[in-house]
């Protein structure tokens, strides 16, 4: 599979979705895209023609506002047709403003942060109880780790030795209103996850699919849940949004940014 092409197509779909609806979470969608591509196209054992296949790996998007990235990847993977992008945010649609299980391929209906990882703990615990071998992947934001419930889940996962649970943190350094560590310092971030009993890896190139996949494949320790902290760039691929660390875009800024992003995408 040509993952470069997948990435190009998905980035293009994100721009399509933003343009179609005139508003969206550009920042977190463009930072997390490569994480989702790694999971859905390389790492996780999933079947888009049979989304509820019992032996599938489960992928939980805890930062459920990254809808544009998620819908782009799900459509690219074949869970639904891209022609359905127009239904996103429309009244009565099952393609919602935070990802929900009504959309094929989505495992958890998120929104309020800090719960997807806990839900994933439940999935991982259930798999252990049933002696099933599928894996659970949860994708979090770094700002989300301000939530106390993330650390309740972190304790739970290591206490119960949930080595079938993998989380990837989209470490894009910015929350809605500024620098994550300036708001509430998460450092030493990697050491904190280690201290909570997780086998943890930090990767510099978090917007590179192969780096994420390599990290997810490279875990070694039995009995420990796994954490990848992926250093990413918010609004990756659209410099005029990157420099402003935007969370959401709308209006002229959206139109101009999409133009810039598409131009750079063609040049890649």
């Amino acid at each position: 599979m040509d993952l470069d092409l997948v990435e190009k197509n998905c980035t293009s779909s994100i721009f399509d979705l933003l343009e179609l609806h005139g508003i969206g979470h550009s920042g977190g969608s463009l930072s997390v895209l490569q994480v989702l591509i790694s999971l859905y196209f390389e790492i996780a054992n999933v079947d888009s023609t049979n989304p509820k296949w019992p032996q599938r790996d489960r992928i939980v998007l805890s930062k459920a506002h990254a809808t544009e990235a998620m819908y782009a990847v799900l459509a690219e993977k074949g869970y639904f047709e891209k022609t359905r992008f127009g239904e996103y945010l429309r009244l009565g649609s099952d393609i919602q403003g935070h990802v929900e299980i009504s959309t094929p391929g989505v495992e958890y209906s998120g929104g309020a942060l800090g719960q997807g990882i806990t839900f994933a703990c439940g999935l991982a615990y259930a798999a252990k109880m049933r002696q099933e071998t599928h894996k659970i992947y949860a994708v979090l934001g770094d700002g989300e780790c301000h939530e106390g419930s993330v650390w309740e889940a972190a304790m739970f996962a290591s206490h119960y030795k949930l080595d079938n649970l993998f989380i990837v943190i989209d470490n894009n350094h910015y929350a809605d209103h500024g620098d994550v560590d300036e708001m509430m310092n998460l450092q030493p971030f990697e050491e904190r996850w280690e201290a909570f009993g997780w086998e943890t890896k930090f990767i510099e190139e978090g917007n590179k699919v192969s780096s994420i996949s390599d990290a997810l494949r490279g875990f070694e320790k039995a009995d420990k849940p796994k954490c990848v902290i992926a250093n990413t760039v918010k609004n990756y691929g659209v410099p005029m949004w990157e420099e402003k660390h935007l969370h959401q875009v709308a209006g002229d800024l959206l139109t101009e940014g999409v133009k810039q992003g598409r131009r750079l995408l063609h040049a890649r």
Partner: protein, 325 residues
């Protein structure tokens, strides 16, 4: 029924029943938040991971349970009623929204408890009623708790069971069949809808005050059994709702909406004011009176709605409202 008051613990009936159900259903797991008694011990001994202790982490308990339910397990989650507040967003987003089969039971609901204002919870029904997809039950005693826990377990969507934390008077002699609405005593002066501990209090008021009231135990608060409630209200044309709960958001508000929208008739509510209840010892005699939900309050309210004016001024000094003697 009220000649001799026997006490029973709803909390114990809950534990016994969950154990009974779990013996034949391996998908039942118990999610503990540093909580539980012999049911916790049962699941611990069963092994195979069926006791899921999350530690003192309420938020986590609700969402772990949701995850387990999404994989086909039937998690029973037990906690203090006041801690529903601590789990509320988790219950809403992770359990209610996708209607996962999580069985929540909460004890120490109501005004009783040494814990004081932080621990005594009279707003749990207000919170839980507001959540779509939940079915809500309020057992009246030990025996009805058994029937209700079984009923809740048989439903494949989220349920909430409200339990008192202290021994409560028995109003049933044995485990009844589940019924969302049950006529406890027939009468024609007015219809008293009540739930939980207030079923006994209403029966006592009926006897002591010679009220001839129509006493109806509402065991299912949501979905509200509307037609049954209207039918029982219609029999007397006057309605009183009694509950050990805040006047805001409980059964009284549910029934008043129903009555106003369908068949307006005189109605009064007996409940706890908009306050945080204080610490109280079990031995304290006049707790219900202190909060305005005693048999005496019920008798006075019935008199006011029926227009009865011949009760002697010294009537309430002639009986002990706590024991019924």
């Amino acid at each position: 029924m009220l000649d001799k008051i026997e006490l029973g613990k709803m909390r114990e009936a809950y534990a016994d029943t969950v154990i009974e159900l779990a013996k034949t259903d391996p998908d039942i797991v118990f999610v503990s938040v540093d909580c539980g008694s012999h049911e916790r011990e049962f699941f611990r001994k069963e092994g195979k991971g069926r006791l899921i202790e999350v530690g003192i982490a309420e938020a986590n308990s609700a969402v772990v349970a949701a995850g387990m339910a999404s994989e086909g397990f039937k998690p029973h989650v037990l906690n203090f009623a006041y801690l529903i507040e601590r789990m509320y967003n988790q219950i809403s987003q992770s359990i209610a929204q996708d209607s996962y089969d999580v069985k929540i039971a909460a004890y120490y609901a109501g005004i009783w408890g040494i814990g004081g204002r932080s621990h005594n919870c009279i707003i749990d029904l207000s919170m839980m009623r507001a959540l779509p997809n939940f079915t809500i039950f309020t057992p009246a005693d030990y025996w009805e708790t058994k029937a209700i826990v079984k009923k809740a377990n048989s439903i494949n969507t989220p349920t909430y069971v409200r339990l008192s934390g202290v021994p409560t008077p028995q109003v049933f002699e044995k485990e009844p069949d589940f019924s969302p609405v049950r006529v406890m005593e027939n009468g024609d002066s007015c219809t008293i809808f009540c739930h939980g501990t207030m079923v006994h209090e209403s029966l006592m008021a009926n006897k002591l005050g010679d009220l001839n009231a129509h006493i109806v135990n509402v065991s299912q608060i949501k979905p509200l059994p509307k037609q049954e409630i209207l039918k029982e209200a219609r029999k007397t044309g006057k309605v009183i709702v009694v509950e050990e709960h805040s006047k805001i958001g409980g059964l009284a508000e549910a029934i008043s909406s129903l009555i106003i929208e369908n068949e307006p008739m005189p109605m009064k509510a007996i409940g706890v004011d908009d306050i945080y209840p204080l610490s109280v010892l079990m031995e304290e005699p006049d707790v219900y009176k202190y909060y305005g939900i005693s048999s005496e309050d019920i008798i006075k309210t019935v008199d006011s709605i029926t227009g009865y004016e011949n009760r002697p001024a010294n009537f309430f000094s002639s009986y002990n409202s706590n024991t019924g003697d």
